[in-house]
Protein backbone atom coordinates (compact mmCIF):
# COMPACT_ATOMS: atom_id res chain seq x y z
CA UNK A 1 0.00 0.00 0.00
CA UNK A 2 1.51 3.33 -0.98
CA UNK A 3 1.26 6.04 1.61
CA UNK A 4 0.67 9.75 1.09
CA UNK A 5 3.49 12.04 2.15
CA UNK A 6 1.84 13.99 5.03
CA UNK A 7 2.41 11.21 7.56
CA UNK A 8 6.12 11.90 7.55
CA UNK A 9 6.01 15.61 6.67
CA UNK A 10 8.18 17.36 9.31
CA UNK A 11 6.21 20.62 8.91
CA UNK A 12 2.95 19.09 9.97
CA UNK A 13 2.36 18.77 13.66
CA UNK A 14 -0.75 16.57 13.56
CA UNK A 15 -3.77 17.02 15.77
CA UNK A 16 -3.68 19.22 18.85
CA UNK A 17 -6.37 19.69 21.46
CA UNK A 18 -5.78 22.73 23.63
CA UNK A 19 -7.54 23.06 27.00
CA UNK A 20 -10.77 21.43 25.85
CA UNK A 21 -13.76 21.62 28.18
CA UNK A 22 -17.19 20.09 27.58
CA UNK A 23 -20.27 20.55 29.74
CA UNK A 24 -23.61 18.83 29.31
CA UNK A 25 -25.86 20.99 31.47
CA UNK A 26 -24.41 20.67 34.96
CA UNK A 27 -22.22 17.68 34.09
CA UNK A 28 -18.57 18.35 33.32
CA UNK A 29 -17.65 15.71 30.76
CA UNK A 30 -14.20 17.11 29.95
CA UNK A 31 -12.25 19.64 31.96
CA UNK A 32 -9.13 21.36 30.64
CA UNK A 33 -7.88 18.49 28.50
CA UNK A 34 -4.89 19.08 26.23
CA UNK A 35 -3.47 16.46 23.92
CA UNK A 36 -1.25 16.26 20.88
CA UNK A 37 -1.15 13.46 18.33
CA UNK A 38 1.99 13.96 16.19
CA UNK A 39 2.11 12.44 12.69
CA UNK A 40 2.74 8.71 12.71
CA UNK A 41 2.50 8.37 16.50
CA UNK A 42 0.06 6.31 18.51
CA UNK A 43 -1.52 8.08 21.47
CA UNK A 44 -3.77 6.27 23.93
CA UNK A 45 -6.51 7.70 26.12
CA UNK A 46 -7.45 5.58 29.11
CA UNK A 47 -9.60 6.00 32.16
CA UNK A 48 -12.50 4.40 33.99
CA UNK A 49 -15.99 4.33 32.49
CA UNK A 50 -17.44 7.81 32.31
CA UNK A 51 -13.99 9.41 32.30
CA UNK A 52 -14.81 11.29 29.09
CA UNK A 53 -12.88 9.20 26.59
CA UNK A 54 -15.64 8.85 24.04
CA UNK A 55 -16.63 12.50 24.54
CA UNK A 56 -13.06 13.40 23.59
CA UNK A 57 -13.50 11.46 20.33
CA UNK A 58 -16.84 13.11 19.72
CA UNK A 59 -15.19 16.51 20.09
CA UNK A 60 -12.59 15.63 17.46
CA UNK A 61 -15.34 14.31 15.15
CA UNK A 62 -17.61 17.32 15.58
CA UNK A 63 -20.47 15.37 17.17
CA UNK A 64 -19.89 17.43 20.34
CA UNK A 65 -18.94 21.10 20.31
CA UNK A 66 -16.52 21.93 23.11
CA UNK A 67 -17.62 24.56 25.60
CA UNK A 68 -14.06 25.86 25.87
CA UNK A 69 -10.71 25.26 24.19
CA UNK A 70 -9.42 24.95 20.64
CA UNK A 71 -8.53 22.19 18.23
CA UNK A 72 -5.86 22.53 15.56
CA UNK A 73 -4.80 20.27 12.75
CA UNK A 74 -1.32 20.96 11.40
CA UNK A 75 -1.39 24.27 13.21
CA UNK A 76 -4.63 25.42 11.62
CA UNK A 77 -7.77 25.93 13.70
CA UNK A 78 -10.17 23.06 13.17
CA UNK A 79 -13.92 23.28 13.57
CA UNK A 80 -14.75 19.64 13.04
CA UNK A 81 -17.88 18.66 11.13
CA UNK A 82 -18.52 14.91 10.81
CA UNK A 83 -18.78 14.86 7.01
CA UNK A 84 -15.57 16.91 6.55
CA UNK A 85 -13.39 14.60 8.61
CA UNK A 86 -12.68 12.20 5.77
CA UNK A 87 -11.52 15.08 3.59
CA UNK A 88 -9.15 16.16 6.38
CA UNK A 89 -7.67 12.67 6.44
CA UNK A 90 -9.28 11.65 9.73
CA UNK A 91 -11.04 8.30 10.02
CA UNK A 92 -12.85 6.82 13.01
CA UNK A 93 -14.12 3.45 14.10
CA UNK A 94 -17.12 3.24 16.42
CA UNK A 95 -17.57 1.39 19.69
CA UNK A 96 -20.70 -0.28 18.32
CA UNK A 97 -18.88 -1.25 15.08
CA UNK A 98 -21.51 0.68 13.05
CA UNK A 99 -21.45 -1.36 9.87
CA UNK A 100 -24.23 -0.95 7.30
CA UNK A 101 -26.35 -4.06 7.83
CA UNK A 102 -27.80 -4.23 4.33
CA UNK A 103 -24.49 -3.73 2.52
CA UNK A 104 -21.92 -6.45 1.95
CA UNK A 105 -18.51 -6.28 3.61
CA UNK A 106 -16.96 -5.07 0.36
CA UNK A 107 -19.69 -2.43 -0.10
CA UNK A 108 -19.21 -1.28 3.49
CA UNK A 109 -15.55 -0.70 2.81
CA UNK A 110 -16.32 0.90 -0.56
CA UNK A 111 -18.43 3.58 1.17
CA UNK A 112 -15.30 4.56 3.07
CA UNK A 113 -13.31 4.58 -0.16
CA UNK A 114 -15.80 6.55 -2.23
CA UNK A 115 -15.11 9.93 -0.74
CA UNK A 116 -11.54 10.10 -1.95
CA UNK A 117 -12.50 8.71 -5.34
CA UNK A 118 -10.28 5.72 -4.72
CA UNK A 119 -10.31 2.69 -6.95
CA UNK A 120 -12.10 -0.52 -5.94
CA UNK A 121 -8.67 -2.14 -5.61
CA UNK A 122 -7.96 -0.03 -2.54
CA UNK A 123 -11.01 -1.56 -0.86
CA UNK A 124 -9.55 -5.01 -1.54
CA UNK A 125 -6.19 -3.87 -0.15
CA UNK A 126 -7.87 -2.70 3.05
CA UNK A 127 -9.76 -6.00 3.37
CA UNK A 128 -6.51 -7.85 2.83
CA UNK A 129 -4.65 -5.80 5.43
CA UNK A 130 -7.34 -6.57 8.01
CA UNK A 131 -7.62 -10.22 6.99
CA UNK A 132 -11.26 -10.19 5.96
CA UNK A 133 -10.92 -10.81 2.22
CA UNK A 134 -12.76 -14.19 2.39
CA UNK A 135 -15.83 -12.46 3.85
CA UNK A 136 -15.95 -9.72 1.16
CA UNK A 137 -19.34 -10.68 -0.22
CA UNK A 138 -21.03 -11.60 3.07
CA UNK A 139 -23.50 -9.39 4.90
CA UNK A 140 -21.97 -8.20 8.18
CA UNK A 141 -24.95 -9.28 10.30
CA UNK A 142 -24.02 -12.97 10.04
CA UNK A 143 -20.32 -12.56 10.83
CA UNK A 144 -18.61 -13.10 14.21
CA UNK A 145 -18.09 -9.96 16.25
CA UNK A 146 -14.31 -10.03 15.89
CA UNK A 147 -14.62 -10.19 12.09
CA UNK A 148 -17.07 -7.29 12.07
CA UNK A 149 -14.59 -5.22 14.06
CA UNK A 150 -11.95 -5.97 11.44
CA UNK A 151 -14.34 -4.91 8.68
CA UNK A 152 -14.97 -1.64 10.51
CA UNK A 153 -11.21 -1.14 10.74
CA UNK A 154 -10.80 -1.89 7.03
CA UNK A 155 -13.50 0.67 6.25
CA UNK A 156 -11.65 3.29 8.28
CA UNK A 157 -8.30 2.46 6.66
CA UNK A 158 -9.48 2.41 3.06
CA UNK A 159 -9.41 6.20 2.77
CA UNK A 160 -5.72 6.05 3.78
CA UNK A 161 -6.19 8.47 6.66
CA UNK A 162 -3.29 10.25 8.30
CA UNK A 163 -5.09 10.10 11.65
CA UNK A 164 -7.13 7.12 12.76
CA UNK A 165 -9.41 7.32 15.81
CA UNK A 166 -9.95 3.89 17.32
CA UNK A 167 -12.81 3.69 19.84
CA UNK A 168 -12.31 0.60 22.04
CA UNK A 169 -11.10 -1.66 19.22
CA UNK A 170 -10.37 -4.53 21.64
CA UNK A 171 -13.83 -4.53 23.21
CA UNK A 172 -15.43 -7.96 22.97
CA UNK A 173 -12.31 -9.62 21.53
CA UNK A 174 -10.44 -12.66 22.87
CA UNK A 175 -6.77 -12.62 23.93
CA UNK A 176 -5.44 -13.95 20.60
CA UNK A 177 -7.55 -11.52 18.64
CA UNK A 178 -6.29 -8.64 20.77
CA UNK A 179 -2.69 -9.69 20.14
CA UNK A 180 -3.34 -9.72 16.38
CA UNK A 181 -5.04 -6.34 16.64
CA UNK A 182 -1.99 -4.97 18.46
CA UNK A 183 0.29 -6.08 15.62
CA UNK A 184 -2.08 -4.55 13.09
CA UNK A 185 -2.14 -1.19 14.91
CA UNK A 186 1.64 -1.16 15.36
CA UNK A 187 2.04 -1.72 11.62
CA UNK A 188 -0.17 1.22 10.64
CA UNK A 189 1.70 4.07 8.98
CA UNK A 190 -0.79 6.73 10.16
CA UNK A 191 -1.14 8.50 13.49
CA UNK A 192 -3.53 6.73 15.85
CA UNK A 193 -5.62 8.08 18.71
CA UNK A 194 -6.75 5.10 20.72
CA UNK A 195 -9.43 4.90 23.40
CA UNK A 196 -9.25 1.54 25.12
CA UNK A 197 -9.91 -0.32 28.34
CA UNK A 198 -7.60 -3.20 27.64
CA UNK A 199 -4.36 -2.15 29.36
CA UNK A 200 -2.08 -4.72 27.74
CA UNK A 201 -3.03 -3.48 24.29
CA UNK A 202 -2.63 0.17 25.25
CA UNK A 203 0.77 -0.43 26.85
CA UNK A 204 1.93 -2.46 23.85
CA UNK A 205 1.00 -0.13 21.00
CA UNK A 206 1.04 3.42 22.38
CA UNK A 207 3.93 5.89 22.24
CA UNK A 208 2.27 8.03 24.88
CA UNK A 209 -0.81 7.80 27.06
CA UNK A 210 -3.24 10.32 28.55
CA UNK A 211 -5.16 9.20 31.62
CA UNK A 212 -8.55 10.77 32.30
CA UNK A 213 -10.65 10.50 35.43
CA UNK A 214 -14.05 12.22 35.68
CA UNK A 215 -13.14 14.34 32.65
CA UNK A 216 -9.87 15.61 34.15
CA UNK A 217 -6.38 14.67 32.95
CA UNK A 218 -4.69 12.74 35.74
CA UNK A 219 -1.44 11.78 34.04
CA UNK A 220 0.31 12.00 30.68
CA UNK A 221 3.42 10.17 29.60
CA UNK A 222 5.02 7.10 28.03
CA UNK A 223 3.62 3.65 28.90
CA UNK A 224 6.56 3.12 31.30
CA UNK A 225 5.82 6.40 33.11
CA UNK A 226 2.08 5.70 33.29
CA UNK A 227 2.67 2.23 34.72
CA UNK A 228 4.44 3.70 37.75
CA UNK A 229 2.39 6.90 38.17
CA UNK A 230 0.82 6.88 41.64
CA UNK A 231 -2.21 8.95 40.61
CA UNK A 232 -2.94 6.48 37.80
CA UNK A 233 -2.53 3.49 40.03
CA UNK A 234 -4.99 5.05 42.46
CA UNK A 235 -7.51 6.17 39.90
CA UNK A 236 -7.45 3.33 37.47
CA UNK A 237 -4.95 0.55 37.62
CA UNK A 238 -5.31 0.12 41.37
CA UNK A 239 -9.06 -0.02 41.10
CA UNK A 240 -8.86 -2.57 38.32
CA UNK A 241 -6.45 -4.85 40.18
Amino acid sequence: MTRPAPATDPDSDGLSLHRIGVRFGGLVALDDVSLRVPPGRTVGVIGPNGAGKTTLFNVVCGFVTPTTGTITLDGRALRPRPHRLARLGIARTLQGVGLFGGLTVLENVMVGAEHAGRRPESAWEALERCGVTPQAHALPGGLPYAVRKRVALARALVAQPRLLLLDEPAGGLGADEIAELGELITGLPCAVLLVEHHMDLVMAVCDEILVLDFGKPVAHGTPAEIRTDQAVVDAYLGAAA
Binding site: P82, F100, G101, G102, V111
Partner: protein, 292 residues
Protein backbone atom coordinates in the same frame (compact mmCIF):
# COMPACT_ATOMS: atom_id res chain seq x y z
CA UNK B 1 -61.25 -16.29 -21.96
CA UNK B 2 -60.89 -13.30 -24.33
CA UNK B 3 -62.05 -11.08 -21.55
CA UNK B 4 -59.61 -12.61 -19.08
CA UNK B 5 -56.65 -12.09 -21.44
CA UNK B 6 -57.66 -8.50 -22.10
CA UNK B 7 -58.14 -7.78 -18.39
CA UNK B 8 -54.75 -9.34 -17.61
CA UNK B 9 -52.89 -7.13 -20.06
CA UNK B 10 -54.86 -4.10 -18.98
CA UNK B 11 -54.10 -4.91 -15.34
CA UNK B 12 -50.39 -5.35 -16.00
CA UNK B 13 -50.27 -2.04 -17.85
CA UNK B 14 -51.93 -0.17 -14.96
CA UNK B 15 -49.88 -2.21 -12.51
CA UNK B 16 -46.67 -1.06 -14.18
CA UNK B 17 -47.61 2.53 -13.44
CA UNK B 18 -48.52 1.71 -9.84
CA UNK B 19 -45.20 -0.10 -9.59
CA UNK B 20 -43.28 3.01 -10.69
CA UNK B 21 -45.27 5.23 -8.34
CA UNK B 22 -44.85 2.76 -5.46
CA UNK B 23 -41.12 2.64 -6.20
CA UNK B 24 -40.96 6.40 -5.73
CA UNK B 25 -42.72 6.06 -2.36
CA UNK B 26 -40.25 3.33 -1.34
CA UNK B 27 -37.26 5.47 -2.34
CA UNK B 28 -38.29 8.20 0.08
CA UNK B 29 -39.43 5.79 2.78
CA UNK B 30 -36.06 4.04 2.79
CA UNK B 31 -34.14 7.28 3.02
CA UNK B 32 -36.32 9.12 5.53
CA UNK B 33 -38.96 6.78 7.04
CA UNK B 34 -41.56 9.21 5.71
CA UNK B 35 -44.46 8.24 3.46
CA UNK B 36 -44.58 11.10 0.99
CA UNK B 37 -48.31 11.69 0.84
CA UNK B 38 -47.64 14.72 -1.37
CA UNK B 39 -46.23 12.61 -4.18
CA UNK B 40 -49.51 12.45 -6.09
CA UNK B 41 -50.06 16.19 -5.88
CA UNK B 42 -46.44 16.82 -6.89
CA UNK B 43 -46.86 14.56 -9.92
CA UNK B 44 -50.04 16.38 -10.96
CA UNK B 45 -48.31 19.74 -10.60
CA UNK B 46 -45.50 18.71 -12.95
CA UNK B 47 -48.01 17.14 -15.35
CA UNK B 48 -49.88 20.48 -15.57
CA UNK B 49 -46.63 22.23 -16.38
CA UNK B 50 -45.72 19.54 -18.89
CA UNK B 51 -49.06 19.74 -20.71
CA UNK B 52 -48.87 23.54 -20.68
CA UNK B 53 -45.50 23.31 -22.42
CA UNK B 54 -46.93 20.78 -24.87
CA UNK B 55 -49.87 23.09 -25.63
CA UNK B 56 -47.59 26.09 -26.10
CA UNK B 57 -45.00 24.36 -28.28
CA UNK B 58 -47.11 21.69 -29.97
CA UNK B 59 -44.59 19.05 -28.95
CA UNK B 60 -45.87 16.32 -26.61
CA UNK B 61 -42.35 15.06 -25.95
CA UNK B 62 -41.01 18.44 -24.94
CA UNK B 63 -43.84 18.66 -22.39
CA UNK B 64 -43.11 15.09 -21.27
CA UNK B 65 -39.46 15.92 -20.68
CA UNK B 66 -40.38 19.13 -18.84
CA UNK B 67 -42.75 17.19 -16.58
CA UNK B 68 -40.12 14.60 -15.63
CA UNK B 69 -37.32 17.15 -15.21
CA UNK B 70 -39.79 19.34 -13.32
CA UNK B 71 -40.31 16.40 -10.96
CA UNK B 72 -36.57 16.22 -10.40
CA UNK B 73 -36.51 19.92 -9.54
CA UNK B 74 -39.68 19.90 -7.45
CA UNK B 75 -38.42 16.91 -5.44
CA UNK B 76 -35.08 18.59 -4.73
CA UNK B 77 -36.77 21.87 -3.76
CA UNK B 78 -39.29 20.06 -1.54
CA UNK B 79 -36.46 18.38 0.37
CA UNK B 80 -34.23 21.46 0.64
CA UNK B 81 -36.88 24.09 1.37
CA UNK B 82 -39.56 22.14 3.24
CA UNK B 83 -38.54 18.71 4.53
CA UNK B 84 -35.09 19.72 5.77
CA UNK B 85 -36.69 22.21 8.16
CA UNK B 86 -39.01 19.62 9.69
CA UNK B 87 -38.16 18.50 13.23
CA UNK B 88 -36.99 14.92 12.76
CA UNK B 89 -37.47 13.77 16.35
CA UNK B 90 -40.66 12.05 15.16
CA UNK B 91 -41.31 10.68 11.69
CA UNK B 92 -44.93 11.75 12.10
CA UNK B 93 -43.84 15.39 11.70
CA UNK B 94 -42.63 14.75 8.16
CA UNK B 95 -45.82 12.89 7.31
CA UNK B 96 -48.00 15.75 8.60
CA UNK B 97 -45.98 18.27 6.59
CA UNK B 98 -46.38 16.07 3.49
CA UNK B 99 -50.14 16.02 4.03
CA UNK B 100 -50.06 19.80 4.35
CA UNK B 101 -48.15 20.00 1.08
CA UNK B 102 -50.97 18.10 -0.63
CA UNK B 103 -53.45 20.80 0.37
CA UNK B 104 -51.11 23.62 -0.65
CA UNK B 105 -50.25 22.13 -4.05
CA UNK B 106 -53.84 21.17 -4.87
CA UNK B 107 -55.05 24.61 -3.77
CA UNK B 108 -52.48 26.44 -5.90
CA UNK B 109 -53.21 24.21 -8.92
CA UNK B 110 -56.93 24.91 -8.50
CA UNK B 111 -56.27 28.66 -8.47
CA UNK B 112 -54.05 28.55 -11.55
CA UNK B 113 -55.75 25.94 -13.71
CA UNK B 114 -59.26 25.68 -12.25
CA UNK B 115 -60.94 22.73 -10.61
CA UNK B 116 -62.31 21.10 -13.76
CA UNK B 117 -60.91 18.20 -15.74
CA UNK B 118 -58.70 19.11 -18.68
CA UNK B 119 -57.89 16.59 -21.39
CA UNK B 120 -54.53 14.81 -21.06
CA UNK B 121 -53.62 13.46 -24.47
CA UNK B 122 -51.68 10.25 -24.93
CA UNK B 123 -48.63 10.24 -27.21
CA UNK B 124 -49.67 6.93 -28.80
CA UNK B 125 -52.94 5.31 -29.77
CA UNK B 126 -54.79 3.67 -26.90
CA UNK B 127 -56.61 1.35 -29.27
CA UNK B 128 -55.65 -2.24 -28.54
CA UNK B 129 -54.13 -4.53 -31.17
CA UNK B 130 -56.24 -7.60 -31.72
CA UNK B 131 -54.60 -10.97 -32.22
CA UNK B 132 -56.90 -13.76 -33.32
CA UNK B 133 -59.91 -11.65 -32.35
CA UNK B 134 -58.61 -11.02 -28.82
CA UNK B 135 -57.87 -7.42 -27.84
CA UNK B 136 -54.43 -7.36 -26.24
CA UNK B 137 -52.33 -4.24 -25.88
CA UNK B 138 -52.37 -0.73 -27.27
CA UNK B 139 -49.30 1.16 -28.45
CA UNK B 140 -49.67 3.31 -25.37
CA UNK B 141 -49.58 0.21 -23.13
CA UNK B 142 -46.32 -0.81 -24.81
CA UNK B 143 -44.95 2.67 -24.18
CA UNK B 144 -45.96 2.37 -20.51
CA UNK B 145 -44.23 -1.00 -20.15
CA UNK B 146 -41.09 0.26 -21.90
CA UNK B 147 -40.89 3.45 -19.83
CA UNK B 148 -41.42 1.67 -16.50
CA UNK B 149 -38.98 -1.08 -17.40
CA UNK B 150 -36.35 1.52 -18.34
CA UNK B 151 -36.86 3.40 -15.06
CA UNK B 152 -36.61 0.24 -12.97
CA UNK B 153 -33.48 -0.85 -14.86
CA UNK B 154 -31.86 2.56 -14.40
CA UNK B 155 -32.64 2.56 -10.68
CA UNK B 156 -31.23 -0.97 -10.30
CA UNK B 157 -28.01 0.09 -12.05
CA UNK B 158 -27.85 3.28 -9.99
CA UNK B 159 -28.20 1.53 -6.64
CA UNK B 160 -26.12 -1.57 -7.31
CA UNK B 161 -23.44 -0.44 -9.75
CA UNK B 162 -22.58 3.19 -9.03
CA UNK B 163 -20.79 4.91 -6.18
CA UNK B 164 -23.59 7.47 -5.83
CA UNK B 165 -26.07 4.65 -5.36
CA UNK B 166 -23.84 3.04 -2.75
CA UNK B 167 -23.59 6.34 -0.87
CA UNK B 168 -27.38 6.78 -1.06
CA UNK B 169 -27.90 3.31 0.42
CA UNK B 170 -25.30 3.91 3.13
CA UNK B 171 -26.93 7.25 4.04
CA UNK B 172 -30.31 5.57 4.33
CA UNK B 173 -28.94 2.85 6.60
CA UNK B 174 -26.90 4.97 9.00
CA UNK B 175 -26.63 8.71 8.32
CA UNK B 176 -24.19 9.46 11.17
CA UNK B 177 -21.76 6.71 10.22
CA UNK B 178 -22.00 7.78 6.58
CA UNK B 179 -21.10 11.35 7.53
CA UNK B 180 -18.01 10.09 9.35
CA UNK B 181 -16.98 8.32 6.17
CA UNK B 182 -17.24 11.57 4.24
CA UNK B 183 -20.61 10.99 2.61
CA UNK B 184 -22.62 14.14 1.96
CA UNK B 185 -25.78 12.76 3.55
CA UNK B 186 -27.82 15.94 2.96
CA UNK B 187 -26.94 15.86 -0.72
CA UNK B 188 -27.93 12.20 -0.94
CA UNK B 189 -31.31 13.04 0.64
CA UNK B 190 -31.90 15.82 -1.86
CA UNK B 191 -30.96 13.49 -4.70
CA UNK B 192 -33.28 10.79 -3.32
CA UNK B 193 -36.24 13.16 -3.18
CA UNK B 194 -35.43 14.48 -6.66
CA UNK B 195 -35.26 10.99 -8.17
CA UNK B 196 -38.41 9.86 -6.39
CA UNK B 197 -40.37 12.90 -7.51
CA UNK B 198 -39.15 12.46 -11.10
CA UNK B 199 -40.27 8.82 -11.09
CA UNK B 200 -43.60 9.97 -9.61
CA UNK B 201 -43.97 12.58 -12.36
CA UNK B 202 -43.23 9.97 -15.01
CA UNK B 203 -45.87 7.70 -13.48
CA UNK B 204 -48.30 10.64 -13.58
CA UNK B 205 -47.63 11.24 -17.28
CA UNK B 206 -48.23 7.53 -17.91
CA UNK B 207 -51.47 7.25 -15.96
CA UNK B 208 -53.26 10.57 -16.52
CA UNK B 209 -54.16 9.87 -20.19
CA UNK B 210 -55.89 6.65 -19.06
CA UNK B 211 -57.93 8.48 -16.40
CA UNK B 212 -60.36 11.34 -16.76
CA UNK B 213 -57.53 13.78 -17.45
CA UNK B 214 -55.82 16.60 -15.58
CA UNK B 215 -57.36 17.76 -12.32
CA UNK B 216 -55.70 18.92 -9.06
CA UNK B 217 -56.99 15.73 -7.41
CA UNK B 218 -56.39 13.47 -10.41
CA UNK B 219 -53.70 11.36 -8.70
CA UNK B 220 -55.56 10.77 -5.42
CA UNK B 221 -56.92 7.35 -6.40
CA UNK B 222 -53.62 6.42 -8.08
CA UNK B 223 -51.85 7.34 -4.85
CA UNK B 224 -54.11 5.05 -2.82
CA UNK B 225 -53.52 2.14 -5.21
CA UNK B 226 -49.76 2.75 -5.32
CA UNK B 227 -49.50 3.19 -1.56
CA UNK B 228 -51.29 -0.15 -1.22
CA UNK B 229 -48.81 -1.63 -3.69
CA UNK B 230 -45.87 -0.29 -1.69
CA UNK B 231 -47.28 -1.61 1.61
CA UNK B 232 -48.05 -4.99 0.03
CA UNK B 233 -44.42 -5.10 -1.08
CA UNK B 234 -43.16 -4.14 2.35
CA UNK B 235 -42.41 -0.37 1.89
CA UNK B 236 -38.73 -1.20 2.29
CA UNK B 237 -38.32 -3.30 -0.80
CA UNK B 238 -37.94 -2.07 -4.36
CA UNK B 239 -38.70 -5.53 -5.72
CA UNK B 240 -41.74 -5.61 -3.45
CA UNK B 241 -42.96 -2.27 -4.80
CA UNK B 242 -42.83 -3.54 -8.38
CA UNK B 243 -44.50 -6.83 -7.49
CA UNK B 244 -47.07 -5.02 -5.35
CA UNK B 245 -47.83 -2.64 -8.21
CA UNK B 246 -48.49 -5.48 -10.61
CA UNK B 247 -50.63 -7.33 -8.02
CA UNK B 248 -52.75 -4.26 -7.35
CA UNK B 249 -53.04 -3.51 -11.09
CA UNK B 250 -54.26 -7.03 -11.85
CA UNK B 251 -56.63 -7.05 -8.89
CA UNK B 252 -58.19 -3.74 -9.92
CA UNK B 253 -58.53 -4.88 -13.51
CA UNK B 254 -60.17 -8.22 -12.68
CA UNK B 255 -62.50 -6.75 -10.08
CA UNK B 256 -63.55 -3.86 -12.36
CA UNK B 257 -63.98 -6.25 -15.28
CA UNK B 258 -65.94 -8.97 -13.55
CA UNK B 259 -67.66 -7.24 -10.63
CA UNK B 260 -67.89 -3.62 -11.76
CA UNK B 261 -65.74 -0.52 -11.38
CA UNK B 262 -67.54 0.63 -8.24
CA UNK B 263 -66.27 -2.41 -6.31
CA UNK B 264 -62.62 -1.87 -7.28
CA UNK B 265 -61.62 0.61 -4.51
CA UNK B 266 -63.08 -1.77 -1.91
CA UNK B 267 -61.02 -4.62 -3.34
CA UNK B 268 -57.83 -2.55 -2.93
CA UNK B 269 -58.69 -1.78 0.69
CA UNK B 270 -59.51 -5.44 1.29
CA UNK B 271 -56.12 -6.45 -0.12
CA UNK B 272 -54.43 -3.92 2.16
CA UNK B 273 -56.24 -5.27 5.22
CA UNK B 274 -55.51 -8.92 4.33
CA UNK B 275 -51.78 -8.27 3.79
CA UNK B 276 -51.46 -6.17 6.95
CA UNK B 277 -53.19 -8.87 8.98
CA UNK B 278 -51.30 -11.79 7.45
CA UNK B 279 -47.86 -10.29 6.85
CA UNK B 280 -47.67 -6.87 8.51
CA UNK B 281 -44.15 -6.36 7.19
CA UNK B 282 -45.34 -6.84 3.62
CA UNK B 283 -44.59 -9.66 1.22
CA UNK B 284 -40.97 -8.62 0.57
CA UNK B 285 -40.05 -6.84 3.78
CA UNK B 286 -36.39 -6.54 4.66
CA UNK B 287 -37.04 -4.74 7.93
CA UNK B 288 -35.43 -7.58 9.88
CA UNK B 289 -32.20 -7.12 7.96
CA UNK B 290 -32.29 -3.36 8.46
CA UNK B 291 -32.59 -3.61 12.20
CA UNK B 292 -29.06 -5.07 12.52
Amino acid sequence: MDRFVFLTFDGLSRGAVYAAFALALVLIWRATRIVNFAQGAMAVATAYVGYSVSAATGSYWLGFAVAVLGGLLLGAVTERVVMRLVDHSSHLNGVVVALGLVLVIQGVLGMIYGNEFRPAEAPFSREAFTVGGIALLSRFDLFVFGAVFLVVALLVVLFTRTSVGLRMRASAFAPDVSRLLGVNVGGMLTLGWALAAAVGSLAGMLVLPTELGLHPNAMDIVFVSSFTAAVVGGLDSAVGAVAGGLIVGLLLSYVSGYLGATVAPIAVLLLLVVVLLGRPGGLFSRSAARAV
